[in-house]
Amino acid sequence: MERAVSDAALSNREQLSYIAAQAADARVNVELETEGMTLNIGPQHPATHGTLRIIAKLDGEQVVAVDPVMGYMHRGYEKLAEVRTYPQVTTLINRIDWVGSFANEVPFILTAERLMEVEAPPRAQWIRTILFEMSRIANITLFLGDMGLQVGAVTPAFFAFRDREHVLNLIESATGGRFHPNFDRIGGIKDDLPAGWITETRRVMKKMRKYCDEIEILVEGNEIFQARTRGIGVIPANIGLSYGLSGANIRGSGVDWDVRRDNPCGMVHNETDWKVWTHPDGDSFARFWVRLQETRESTRIIDQLLDNIPSGPIMAKVPRIIKVPAGEAYVETENPLGVMGYYVISKGELVPYRVKIRSASFNNISITPWLLKGVYVPDIITILASLYFILGDIDR
């Protein structure tokens, strides 16, 4: 510091003002030493989707450090999966991300199919893809409404639940369960679609597109919402990748990566022409925007798939008592929350030897200590809402 100040170019007057300013700063820093406050957000809190507790050290309204505490919802699925047969594990794992729950079963079934070298017949893959995209719509429409609620607008959440009801009724009329369909089997699916299901789905898809337009006007076009989310919680692409963010969180930062297109496995997304949406900004608004476009894209994918469902069997030749041959496999798919994968190690018995569940929200939330530093209290809620996690997905 001293060397710069004595530089001949600085005139005498500038030196004096510079020294005076330094002295003033020193005095101010001393006086303003305020004692920080630790605020507990959660585990029982409206903004955390389930029981996530965030210990935030505050300096006034600004966050100094954030430490998420989890485990309130930990059910120990990886331990339970070691004593359950394969059909029983599918009933277990569709409770991980309970909002779009058909999408949890698919990667596990695909891993088991890869170990058993079994391929589901085309009609089964078609129906599996349709239900996969439908569980994405059911999951993301809840987010679109809920993001408005987190930022303060009450009405979008009700629109979300009103229109999501039709999608859940469709899933229930095909699979029997609204939230836990338990419909996927190794080698195909449990049952075929009931009559009249396709025409009903087309009607509901039109209604969902109308819902997306309503949300676009009500939330995304709203200047207050933009003021609250643009430039808030910016995640640069490389930091996002090194934390393992996936889904709309990473596509919001401009990374053009979608497992459905880049390494498809067991599903027929690439039979339809669809687009992967990305947004360069990487802020909360970008993540919201990407999810909104993805929901519309899913309705278009389903429409195209409905047009050309092949006829044929829905179950491949698979023995009744399933013993998966010894080996290890890892399959991941683009779930509504992000990339979800199962690393299954089998020793040829009825039960898997070890199942590592790679869930999307666990990585998506692990970036919060880095991301929430120096942010205002209301922005903690906006950023958490834009990362969109489901607690079961974090705690497994």
């Binding site: 004593v83 790679r358 692990s366 705690d395």
Partner: protein, 216 residues
Amino acid sequence: MPDTDLARNELVARFAAHLGDGLLESHVEPDVDVWLRVSRESWREAAEFAKNGLGFAYFSFLSGIDWMPSPFGREMDSQIDIALGNDEASKIDQTIVQGIAGGETRFQAFARVNDIVNGLGITLKVDLPDDDLSVDSWVPVYPGANWHEREAWEMYGFSFNDHPGLRALYLPSDFEGHPLRKDYPLLARRMKPWPGIVDVEQMPGEDDNEDGASSE
């Protein structure tokens, strides 16, 4: 899709070149996946090479495997599997057989990183000897590994050198034991008698015991 087994073989070759004898074993399943087992000393070096050298920028997950078969058996049809401690426990063979890309020890840590640009993923494994379950932490290379390593520390008892803060992630801080180890009993299944035991009593006066559905 480029002919991946070429791409994957080339990957293994570059790893071998870079790590030298650090790369102990590798296994390539053409067009599907590639596994690499590295030595404990070159665990972080492998990560740095994967991220900076080969462009595997995406950190997927990191966890542990316990290769000792569970002494409790499957607790499913408890007629066969026997609770730990009585004499039949020895019937369950406890031989440790590692999976793909081999291994010598009971515990292994494994991680997966992806190269998004050309859709490749590799699984790296490392052996952890029973007496010293510690390995270098990946946090300096992939900050995302922080929570995964805390979970592995809590569930398996691995310790990660110079990890910023190894503390409980899911379990309460005063929890003893490492639940995901195979010799940790699953209490839920031990309290309740298993309803699957076939108890169809015989016909009165009938003493042949060949019928009665076998439990398998």
